[in-house]
């Protein structure tokens, strides 16, 4: 942010000194947006334990401008799909995703949500990758991923947020796609 802000010093004695900053709307909006990523309270299986650890004081996701886990999809920016998605759960996950306001981001956390994980062959009840259901922005592999990995996933989401453009409602080039085979 700092490098893109122009400071205007009209006059050293002016009362407006240090008070006028010029930046672009995109820069400002993206800065605010990526500094307060609100994930949804949404743990499906064992990955949720690591997600809780990431939110707790030792790893402290709040340091990176995220962390108020919201109990409603309508206030959330980021859906961390933490855990095995069963076929029974899939319609609920889809509904929660649909209820989130744009722009919304999805992180597939752990092997199960990435591709089915240990259930890939014999798990009759498991959705083989959450990207068959909802578009995924960032994949975080691991079984379960360590909190550091989840934080790294958050940084990638924030990188993506930096490239958002306010006037581009379609979010060209930023919208992930569903896996279609």
């Amino acid at each position: 942010m700092a490098e893109s802000i122009q400071e205007i010093n009209l006059n050293n004695d002016s009362p407006t000194r240090d008070n006028i900053l010029i930046t672009s709307v995109d820069q400002l909006v993206n800065w605010t947006r990526r500094s307060s990523v609100w994930p949804m309270t949404f743990g499906l299986a064992c990955c949720a334990i690591e997600m809780m650890a990431t939110g707790a004081s030792h790893y402290d996701i709040d340091r990176f401008g995220s962390g108020p886990f919201r109990a409603t999809p309508r206030q959330a920016d980021l859906m961390i799909v933490a855990g095995t998605v069963s076929h029974k759960m899939a319609p609920r996950v889809k509904r929660l995703f649909d209820q989130m306001p744009e722009p919304k981001y999805v992180m597939a956390m752990g092997a199960c949500t990435v591709c089915g994980g240990p259930y890939i062959k014999h798990g009759y009840h498991v959705l083989k990758g959450v990207d068959r259901l909802i578009p995924v922005d960032v994949y975080v592999p691991g079984c379960p991923p360590r909190p550091e990995a989840l934080l790294e996933g958050l940084f990638r989401i924030q990188d993506k947020m930096k490239r958002e453009r306010v006037l581009d409602r379609e979010r060209i080039g930023l919208r992930p796609k569903l896996l279609v085979e």
Partner: protein, 157 residues
Amino acid sequence: MTPDKVHEILKAKHAQAVSAFDPNPKHPSIKIAPEFWRVVAKTLRDDCGLDYLVSLTAVDRAAELEAIYTLEVMDGARCPIHVRVLVPRDNPLIATVEDIWRTADWHEREAWDLMGITFVGHHNLVRILCAEDWEGHPLRKDYKSPDTYHGIKNNVT
């Protein structure tokens, strides 16, 4: 209540119902013919004092399906006894015992959901783990996973 004592009581009351007895000290088991299961269950609870159904599980034995009831005396020494009830695979009917041991309610639903054993007389025999519209009973040996479920491809190639 030792397994031998249970076997003795059952032999005395329902001689034709008991088809096998295995006094294995770790997993003592008694095999009961399915048509006598309800009366035997009442005897097990009332006369043998086995008032706690620890678990109800099911096994696919190819030609037959087997329900295994693990019973214990609630405030006695830990000495579980297994009761095995085998039914033919093409017509797997077992009388319910949900009114004898309350545990059996959900356990019978689970055994029906995953193994397809029908518990006759159960008040609410619907799926408990799989989705309501799931087809088939997944833990049977010949079960094939569906290729798609609600339009989502299920198999990975």
